[in-house]
């Protein structure tokens, strides 16, 4: 707005200069001959093959991600689309990990191709899931998050199952820009140049794709061909970065948004500004990471550091972010038929729950294969199986209860403790407690994770209230919160000490260590959570109608909301303590309850609580049995079940109205 030099340009130049100064400091320190003088040529080798290419990679990878994000956001008309929210980076990373383990010769030949295949698979899956919804932004981002989280969970399980935990995790957790040659810079550079060239050539279709489908088709554009071509280009850029340096979060998201907020209005301006801003962002982050690094190495990988900076940035920007016009979330045209006798149905569910409990206790593998336990053996095994089955069931129930509450309070059928980042927030809280008191007991751990969950949920809702966010933005805020808290976790895990190992175990969720004590704590927690919620049935019935309406019929919205949020945060944290943050039972169970015809608030709650228990018992049983005697994390199985369900939900071909 200021005439002489626009403020944003001044700001970005300033940040660029700062990054440049950080770089200069390193260069001076490494300048040949300035040190001992003995090994001048080694100094220059480090300068020319270490420092310089690292700066080049930071700039080029930042620009490539900025361009990739801009293309994806434009094509999908989704301000949150970018390589990491769409699961492209996670898909590429998982493909690399799988290939490294099971087909090392392919990785040795071309890791870029493997990464590209993984990224394309992720994006193809997401497009397939959301195609019939017209690639509606929230579904796309949600599917992306689902793919990313499942890929990460699978990756964590792979690492766990393959021994060398911490080393691989550091590299898994976030991209490192350390360089010892020019190959990566060249590899990213020529692809970036090609990408920019292609984007410039495809400027017109790209401009039209920013409009809606009907308008674009009206202008005679072959919509799908140009879309797919540009998506492939964006994936190619992003997966190159993954295969060369690892996952770098948030640059692809932040750069285009910051370009817009800095006043880049036309597509041409954005095509210049987004890569430039991405380059400055990554260079600056990497400079700060190097500045903070001690002699023992960089404590936080640059790729995770970008999320630490970018997460708060996005949360702060969200109210100012202009969302593209899009018909709002539509519900299925035919909701399930309501149960004629809901409580009978709930009782039947309860019977099924008891049956599942019995099977989980009785049926299992031993050293001599499958057997139904009975007699003394049963008494013996029940002492082991009962606590973990009870903890799994109660955790599932609590997540389901939290899911019902959050979906009703936010009037958003896609909200849940997992989606809004409340589980990840609990993890960040737990990480903080473990960091300061490595031997903290269950009570302190629980206090930490509850505080983390509460902070995450309150921050999201405060932002939502301030910006008067609709359901879409609420989900976006949740995704940002997820990324931020996951980055905190990745940074702590990368410390590589005993706490890291504990957090890794927590992240994937485990009911293995639980005893009768934990089981009784969880059951008491479940009772303390569900009884008040059942009493608050009317609140839960009214709140989905919206705050204005709830107020108009005399509900003190603030009191009701705050109470319910507190309960939901506590339930999520307590459950996440045992089954990890990624289970998705909180998202699924409320839907399943509705699908079997339980839609009034109390009935839905009761049904979801039982279904949550069923789902988690099943996950726990599978996690114990599938690779017997190796026990995989229960959270991983639960999130895989969740992934399958969400696939069905999104793929069900719900029509948009209007």
């Amino acid at each position: 707005m200021a005439r002489p030099i626009p403020l944003p340009i001044l700001l970005w130049s300033g940040l660029g200069l700062f990054a440049c100064a950080l770089f200069g400091r390193k260069v001076v320190a490494q300048w040949p001959g300035l040190q001992s003088g003995q090994v001048v040529d080694l100094d220059s080798v480090i300068l020319f093959y270490g420092l310089l290419p690292r700066a080049a990679v930071a700039l080029l990878a930042g620009a490539a991600l900025g361009l990739s994000g801009l293309l994806l956001q434009r094509i999908l008309r989704n301000p949150l689309a970018e390589p990491s929210t769409l699961g492209i980076s996670a898909g590429a990373q998982l493909a690399l990990a799988l290939a490294t383990l099971y087909a090392p010769s392919i990785v040795a030949r071309s890791s870029a191709a493997v990464a590209f295949a993984g990224g394309i698979a992720a994006v193809a899956l997401i497009l397939a899931l959301t195609w019939r919804r017209g690639l509606e932004p929230v579904s796309v981002v949600l599917a992306g998050m689902m793919v990313a989280l499942t890929a990460n969970a699978a990756g964590a399980a792979l690492i766990l199952a393959n021994g060398d935990y911490l080393f691989s995790l550091f590299i898994w957790g976030g991209g490192s820009l350390v360089q010892q040659g020019w190959d990566p810079a060249i590899a990213i550079g020529w692809r970036l140049a090609l990408g920019l060239g292609a984007a410039a050539l495809l400027m017109r279709p790209l401009a039209i794709l920013g409009l809606d489908d009907v308008a674009a088709r009206g202008l005679g554009l072959s919509l799908n061909a140009s879309r797919l071509l540009l998506i492939a280009l964006a994936v190619w850029l992003a997966t190159t970065v993954v295969s060369e340096v690892g996952i770098i979060g948030f640059v692809g998201l932040a750069a285009p948004v910051l370009a817009t907020l800095s006043g880049a209005r036309s597509l041409k301006q954005k095509l210049v500004a987004a890569p430039l801003i991405g380059a400055v962002l990554l260079w600056l982050t990497d400079g700060l990471v190097q500045l903070a690094a001690g002699a023992g190495g960089e404590r936080v990988p640059t790729g995770a550091a970008t999320a630490l900076l970018g997460g708060p940035l996005l949360l702060w920007l969200l109210p100012h972010l202009r969302l593209f016009e899009w018909p709002s979330l539509e519900r299925p045209a035919h909701t399930a038929r309501r149960a004629a006798r809901p409580w009978l149905r709930i009782a039947m569910l309860g019977m099924a729950g008891i049956g599942a409990l019995a099977i989980a206790l009785l049926l299992g593998q031993g050293p001599h294969g499958w057997s139904l336990a009975s007699g003394d053996v049963l008494a013996d095994l029940v002492a082991w199986r009962l606590p973990r089955v009870v903890v799994a069931a109660a955790s599932g129930s609590m997540l389901a209860a939290a899911g019902v509450v959050i979906q009703r309070v936010t009037a958003n059928p896609l909200a849940s403790p997992e989606v809004l980042g409340i589980g990840a927030g609990a993890g960040a809280g737990l990480a903080a407690v473990l960091l300061f008191a490595g031997s903290a007991g269950l009570g302190w751990q629980l206090a930490g994770s509850t505080a983390g969950a509460l902070v995450a949920l309150v921050v999201i809702l405060v932002i939502a209230a301030r910006g008067n966010l609709g359901p879409e933005r609420l989900l976006f805020a949740g995704i940002a919160m997820n990324a931020l808290c996951s980055a905190v976790l990745a940074a702590v895990i990368a410390l590589g000490n005993a706490q890291s190992y504990r957090l890794l175990g927590w992240l994937t969720g485990s009911t293995i260590q639980v005893t009768g004590l934990e089981a009784s704590v969880v059951v008491i927690g479940l009772v303390l959570i569900t009884v008040p919620l059942l009493l608050a049935g009317r609140w839960l019935a009214i709140l989905p109608l919206g705050a204005g309406r709830a107020l108009a019929i005399g509900l003190s919205v603030r009191l009701a909301r705050n109470t319910l949020i507190l309960i939901a945060a506590f339930a999520s944290a307590l459950a996440a303590q045992f089954v990890g943050p990624l289970s998705f039972v909180g998202l699924i169970a409320p839907h399943l309850a509705r699908m079997i015809g339980l839609d009034r608030s109390r009935q839905q709650l009761a049904g979801a609580v039982i279904l949550g228990a069923l789902l988690m018992m099943l996950s726990d049983w599978l996690s114990r049995m599938i690779f017997f005697p190796y026990q995989l994390p229960v959270g991983l199985f639960a999130s895989l079940l969740g992934g399958v369900y969400l696939t069905l939900l999104l793929g069900r071909g719900v029509q948009r109205r209007g």
Binding site: T100, A108, S111, S176, G181, A295, E298, G366, P367, G505
Partner: protein
């Protein structure tokens, strides 16, 4: 820990059925002729630790971090071995059998003396005191022998690293078994910065240039990517140790091992160095 050793012992020490959660103690038990009934992650153990060879009778309990307690309960050992790292599992394990926690790795302490005292304690507990004493003495003697053999190699410091990918390595410090053995062999560890639980967090290859005169000892396994990326890594190739052929790649050694791993490492190193005349 001493307290558990004093628990009532229903079975005579010689016929104790043992289960080991910790790999270092699994090695140690095998070395003194005690064959555990069960232990963890055996497939991975055979790949990483390699020796001592595992008798087929040992039952796999699953992951070290989450052993299968039900299976362990059915196997009903008389004694369960853990190290400090698995202390959090103690409440569950004690429901099955008495737990004997023998420390090998403690933050900031060289592991060799701890491994040796754990070996002796285990020998005591399992009624194989003589075997344990003999093994400790043999190990000390073997290390001394290797130290003499490596005399010329010891004139230079050495980095002891494992590679994560073609760009990062992890350095083993004095608080790791290979690092401690390195010192006992009279070789200065070129990595003098902090380490935490054996090794430092991964750092870039260029950190190896800080001690130009140092040799480099790489512990297998090498990730697939390394064989593709490392030969073309300009910085790696510019390192004096690489140019002058002072790099030794050793077979895999258990990073968290006991005395058997210490011997294995010393033997592998001596073999590699004496095989290649360049060293020294």
């Amino acid at each position: 820990m001493a307290a558990t050793a004093l628990l009532p012992q229903p079975v005579s020490a010689a016929q104790l059925r043992i289960a080991s959660i910790d790999w270092g103690l699994l090695e140690t038990a095998l070395a003194i002729g005690v064959v555990p009934a069960a232990a963890t992650e055996l497939r991975q153990f055979a790949r990483i630790a390699v020796e001592p060879a595992l008798p087929a009778s040992v039952v796999d309990l699953g992951l070290r971090g989450s052993p299968n307690y039900e299976l362990l309960r059915i196997l009903a050992p008389d004694l369960i071995l853990i190290s400090g790292f698995y202390e959090y599992q103690r409440p569950s394990l004690e429901r099955i059998a008495p737990v004997l926690a023998l420390p090998i790795y403690e933050a900031g302490r060289p592991p060799y003396p701890l491994a040796q005292s754990s070996l002796l304690a285990l020998g005591e507990r399992t009624g194989r005191k003589e075997d344990a004493d003999r093994y400790a003495a043999e190990t000390a003697a073997e290390l001394e022998e290797r130290r003499l053999a490596l005399h010329s190699f010891a004139s230079r410091p050495a980095f002891l690293i494992s590679l994560g990918d073609a760009r990062h390595f992890r350095a083993f410090g004095a608080d790791s078994m290979p690092g401690d053995v390195l010192a006992r062999l009279g070789i200065t560890n070129a990595w003098q910065d902090d380490t935490s639980y054996s090794a430092a967090a991964p750092v870039g290859i260029e950190a190896l240039a800080r001690v130009p005169e140092a040799s480099i000892i790489v512990l297998a396994p090498l990730p697939a990517e390394v064989s593709r990326g490392l030969p073309g890594n300009a910085l790696w190739n510019a390192l004096p140790a690489v140019r002058e052929g002072r790099v030794a790649v050793l077979e895999s050694v258990n990073h968290f091992g006991g005395l058997p791993s210490a011997r294995r490492f010393a033997r592998l190193l001596a073999d590699a160095v004496t095989r290649e005349p360049n060293h020294g």
